[in-house]
Amino acid sequence: MKRLEIVIDEEKLEDLIALLNEVGVRGYTFLRQASGLGSRGTRRPDDIFFEQTNAMMILACEEKQAERLVTTLRPRLKEFGGMCLISDCAWVIGPAVSY
């Protein structure tokens, strides 16, 4: 199994979700109002004057699905901003499979 961790501009979150739906992803988790530093400088929800925030998405899926996803995602990552990390993980069988 692969674990993807994506941080993007919170305003682009719905676009990312639409993209995931297209690829047929069946499970993901995300948190809003993440702060961070990146190539576009600091982005923090507690800065009342700018309201630039990130969303953080975590997604576990099978290797093949991950490849397909990355292929679709890569060209749009620049527009979404942020980063995308991939690492290995194991899925503890038990709950209904949603990947």
């Binding site: 009342i48 004057f49 700018f50």
Partner: protein, 316 residues
């Protein structure tokens, strides 16, 4: 001398809390709720008193005052560039902030008039809402003249026109105007008029906290920005008072026009400049606007603009 309104003491409390490193925190949701309330209330109050005028009669006057407000950034820009030695982007962005207005300074002006039982023309709030447009557009043009890359005019106009500030103020005006026309102001005023000062108090507390955290940002150009942040609004206010008297506004209205010209933005303008002039450093404009000009205006400026209004009203 006019008395200082008790409500502005809350700003000092906020600054103190910041300086003393008190653990006082205004929840973000409260800050946003208060600002939604204030914007609607300012609009509502203006709308109710507009219901007493013929709109078509006042429209030309109002529009002229809006258009003339474009002179403010045009004056500020060369000062910032030549004397302040800011680069083009920063000069334009700061000029846009000073051309734009501060709804909270406006609110303090209204509170001042309430305190001395004076009133102003209701449509001042419409002027306030509209003034953002020439100020931000002029500032952007100045900032980006000859610069590479295209300006996102579409996105900028959308941001200005549908931004929370203008949207809620104009919305408040419409509801207030309608309520005034059908004579159903009554149960809504219990909230949007009676509580106005109390809500302003809490908001100023948070403004004080924010200002104390922002002052450090202007350190590098401190002396210049201190002088600019005080002298420029005085000049703009003088010009506003002159215009108000020229257009035969009431005494209160003349003062409020001076307040509008003198005040500068730290909420709508930063959001707009981030889109239009992303290369400008927002810390400086917010620091000068919120850390110098805002406190100057609410403590010292407002009574002075009132004296200016009296002076010009006596002249014309």
């Amino acid at each position: 001398m006019a008395t200082i309104q008790p409500v502005v003491l809350f700003f000092i409390l906020g600054v103190l809390a910041g300086v003393l490193k008190s653990d006082l925190k205004i929840p973000e949701a409260l800050y946003k709720s208060l600002s939604i309330f204030l914007l609607i209330a300012i609009g509502f109050k203006g709308g109710v008193s507009m219901a007493k005028y013929e709109i078509m009669e006042v429209l030309p006057i109002a529009l002229s005052m809006v258009v003339l407000a474009a002179l403010i950034p045009l004056t500020a820009y060369p000062i910032l560039k030549k004397l302040g030695k800011f680069n083009q982007a920063d000069s334009g962005a700061i000029a846009a902030h000073y051309g734009s207005v501060s709804a909270v300074t406006f609110a303090v002006g209204i509170a001042f008039l309430d305190g001395i039982k004076e009133t102003s023309e209701g449509y001042m709030v419409l002027i306030m809402a509209l003034m953002e447009i020439p100020a931000l557009v002029t500032g952007t043009i100045l900032a980006r003249r000859g610069a590479g890359g295209s300006t996102q005019w579409g996105k900028l106009m959308h941001e200005i026109l549908t931004g929370t500030s203008i949207f809620l103020m104009v919305g408040g005006v419409i509801v207030g105007y309608y309520a005034g026309m059908v004579k159903l102001v009554s149960p809504l005023d219990k909230m949007f008029m009676d509580l106005f000062m109390g809500v302003l108090a809490l908001f100023l507390l948070e403004m004080g906290l924010l200002a104390s955290a922002r002052l450090s940002a202007i350190r590098a150009k401190g002396p210049f920005l201190l002088a600019f942040g005080i002298l420029f609004p005085l000049t703009a206010g003088f010009f506003g008072a002159f215009l108000g008297a020229l257009f035969s506004l009431s005494l209160g209205g003349t003062m409020m026009l001076a307040v509008l010209y003198a005040s500068c933005s730290y909420i709508a303008a930063p959001a707009a400049m981030r889109i239009a002039v992303p290369e400008a450093d927002p810390a400086v404009s917010i620091g000068a606007s919120l850390g110098v000009t805002f406190p100057f205006n609410i403590f010292v400026g407002v009574p002075i603009y009132f004296e200016m209004a009296k002076f010009f009203k006596a002249m014309f």
